[in-house]
């Protein structure tokens, strides 16, 4: 009876502006929902502001004040003048003084400095004699952007600064030769730098999202209620959710590195076992952070947004896209708490520089500390009741 009524009434004229009314109804509903979702609302503000600030202030594609080590084989006025001249170019900042070539190599390999300057024994005397001795500058060229502009500035700038000190004519005949050696990536091929970095970047993105959704999914699907009524502890839930993805991440890392080696000709100079171990640590750290996110947020959308917010500075401030040493100090501090920063140092050092564990201690400990911190937060944040 009522069904047939409806059919007949259906032939009635549709109210005016039906299309706009219905669209308007939908629009009002969406606005209400958006307003209720505080996290989404915050993201609308935070993400663009964060990007703007990072790009505007933190990122510098012609980095200056790069950490440099000095190996002084003789103590001479000329040597000091040259170092002063280099520092005056604003590209170099002398952070370490070493006494042997091995120490210099070690600093470069572990990434603690980007340049090493060696003033050989008898340098000043050779200059006075007019022998044109060589001043050695070794650069860590794994990141061609970071090393390139400084190396390019080296000759003319140092020469100009020295012209004044040494009272040599202009245009001067340089009394010594600057022999720059771009280590690890002599041809300055950016793919050598990017492929190892990509291992970390891709893993960060995929691993975060895998676990960031894991707890919220249980809550949204209603399975959390059953799970919580069973005798399982928060740590057990966490391990159960993280471990499968460690394997997934491991396969993914193998795939990227394999393609990098076979297709792009990126070398793996260091130990493959060490690379595998530290990659596993990095994967686990990211999974723990993603899992922590999922214990904080209320739904899957928020989990995705929080992951995005973590991913963005990871790419920008980790040294993946832009030279880490060129960033202002505050940005470097932020970079230090991002796992990707440490992993990028590790993966570049192992693959391109052949670094071994002693060179990588600091970054390994940092990764492990971040992982433990994330796990602790996750376990304490995990709600054991529905309160």
């Amino acid at each position: 009876m009522s069904a047939t009524d409806t059919i007949r009434n259906g032939e009635e004229r549709e109210p005016a502006f039906g299309f706009w009314r219905r669209s308007y109804a939908m629009l009002v509903k969406e606005f209400i929902q958006l307003r209720r979702d505080r996290v989404s609302f915050a993201m609308i503000i935070i993400i663009p502001v964060m990007q703007l600030l990072l790009f505007g202030f933190a990122i510098n594609t012609t980095p200056r004040h790069l950490p440099t080590a000095v190996l002084l084989q003789e103590d001479s006025d000329l040597g000091r003048s040259i170092l002063k001249a280099m520092e005056n170019t604003a590209y170099f900042r002398f952070t370490r003084e070493v006494h042997t070539v091995e120490q210099l190599d070690e600093l470069l390999q572990s990434g603690k400095v980007l340049f090493g300057v060696e003033i050989p024994r008898g340098f000043e005397r050779a200059v006075r004699r007019g022998d044109k001795p060589a001043l050695l500058v070794a650069a860590d060229a794994t990141d061609p952007v970071a090393a390139g502009s400084a190396l390019g500035a080296l000759g003319p700038l140092v020469q100009g600064a020295l012209a004044h000190d040494l009272h040599i004519g202009d245009p001067p005949e340089m009394p010594f030769e600057i022999r720059a050696h771009a280590r690890y990536n002599p041809a300055a091929e950016s793919r050598l730098n990017i492929v190892p970095g990509l291992v970390g970047t891709i893993l960060t993105m995929t691993m975060l999202i895998f676990t960031a959704l894991s707890v919220t999914r249980e809550i949204e699907r209603g399975t959390m209620e059953s799970l919580l009524s069973m005798p399982i502890k928060p740590v057990e839930v966490m391990f159960g959710k993280i471990i499968p993805y460690v394997m997934v991440g491991f396969i993914q890392a193998g795939l990227i590195i394999g393609i990098g080696v076979l297709l792009f000709g990126v070398p793996v100079l260091g130990s493959l076992t060490l690379l595998g171990l530290l990659t596993t640590l990095f994967i686990t750290t990211n999974l723990s952070i993603g899992y922590t996110f999922s214990t904080i947020v209320q739904n899957q959308l928020q989990a995705m947004q929080l992951s995005m917010m973590f991913f963005l500075p990871s790419i920008l401030l980790s040294g993946f896209m832009f030279p880490f040493a060129g960033m202002p100090v505050w940005a470097q501090y932020i970079g230090e708490v991002l796992p990707l920063t440490h992993f990028i140092r590790i993966v570049r050092a192992i693959m391109l520089k052949g670094a071994a564990m002693p060179n990588l201690q600091y970054d390994t400990i940092a990764l492990a500390a971040l992982m433990l911190f994330a796990m602790t937060v996750a376990v304490t944040r995990f709600r054991r009741t529905l309160d």
Binding site: R221, G222, T223, M224, E225, S226, L228, S229, M230, P231, I232, K233, R384, T385, L386, D387
Partner: protein, 319 residues
């Protein structure tokens, strides 16, 4: 009422649930108010009340999923505040909404539960349960693809799998067809006969009558408890059953008359109830001689009692 099961004090070991003064609020709204109850071991205890009355909240407090704001008590002898982990090992909780993994098969869901409880032979235990709940042949089907009745069986199977001593069932038969409902209750009775204690919440009156004892809860207050007969006797409600024709006019006339508290049609008859027997009789006297209707004094049904309790509690607690 004297000599009824509730007035004798059972020994502690024979009590499965013993809670006093449970109170729980959400966002300033009190959902459970000063609730005390005792459930004896091996008993089927029905938990009745309208939607939003606090049944689910109470059940969640009992199995440690919620912490009460105040009140105390024990579940299977364990403190509900401190020993939630121990309670979870021995209690099976069937949630109101299906909460097993929809993207796991029947077998995988059961094996998950068996492993979680550390059962030595998870595969074997799951296979036995599949046979017991009659899901043989469907073990590889995804839980999400099962029909309502099968889902409910699977959920019951999952919560009885680890051999619990107490089952908490939250509206287990909502949206399930009568045949499946009957099978379900037969299973519950079989489990209780094996010594399992069952606390089951429901809306259905026929299910209430299948329980050994019932409690009625509305607006967070426990309003009545005891066996079905006791609850009816304690209600103090007098009821007349009217048979005949043209109830619509009669209903309209009787409703709201002093002495008449409730008028409810039951198929071809009408139940007219009141708390004051004399006032009720006075109210219906003018209609009793009308040949259209036949008046008979009768027992109030459980539904009459509950609707009356609900109406009264609404006056008391909702202003």
């Amino acid at each position: 009422m004297n000599g009824g099961p509730t007035s004798t004090q059972p020994s502690a070991s024979s009590i499965a649930i013993d809670v006093k003064g449970l109170t729980k609020s959400f966002g300033g709204r009190e959902v459970v108010h000063d609730l005390s109850m005792q459930v004896k071991r091996g008993e089927i205890y029905g938990f009745l009340g309208p939607n939003g009355s606090g049944k689910t909240t109470t059940i969640r407090i009992l199995c440690g999923l919620l912490t009460p704001d105040s009140g105390e008590g024990t579940c299977l002898g364990y403190d509900i505040r401190r020993d939630a982990d121990k309670i979870k090992r021995k209690v099976g909780y069937m949630t109101q909404r299906f909460s097993l993994y929809q993207d796991l098969s029947v077998r995988e869901n059961l094996e998950f539960v068996a492993r979680l409880y550390g059962m030595p032979d998870a595969r074997g235990a799951a296979a036995d349960m599949i046979a017991r709940i009659g899901l043989k042949g469907r073990e590889e089907q995804l839980a999400g693809e099962l029909s309502g009745g099968w889902k409910q069986r699977l959920a019951l199977g999952a919560c009885t799998l680890p051999n619990p001593q107490l089952l908490l069932l939250d509206e287990p038969t909502a949206g399930v067809d009568p045949k499946a409902r009957r099978d379900f209750w037969n299973e519950i009775h079989a489990l209780a006969a094996d010594g399992l204690t069952v606390l089951v919440s429901t809306h259905y009156m026929d299910e209430a009558e299948r329980c050994h004892e019932i409690a009625y809860i509305a607006y967070g207050h426990l309003l009545a408890h005891g066996t079905v007969d006791e609850v009816i006797a304690k209600s103090g409600l007098s009821t007349w059953t009217v048979t005949g024709e043209d109830f619509n006019g009669l209903m309209a006339e009787l409703t709201g008359k002093p002495g008449v508290d409730m008028v409810a049609p039951f198929g071809t008859s009408l139940h007219v109830s009141g708390r004051d027997k004399a006032a009720l009789e006075a109210a219906i006297t003018p209609y009793r001689d009308n040949s259209k209707w036949r008046w008979q004094p009768s027992e109030p049904s459980l539904e009459d009692v509950f609707i009356d309790l609900m109406g009264r509690s609404k006056d008391n607690f909702q202003g």
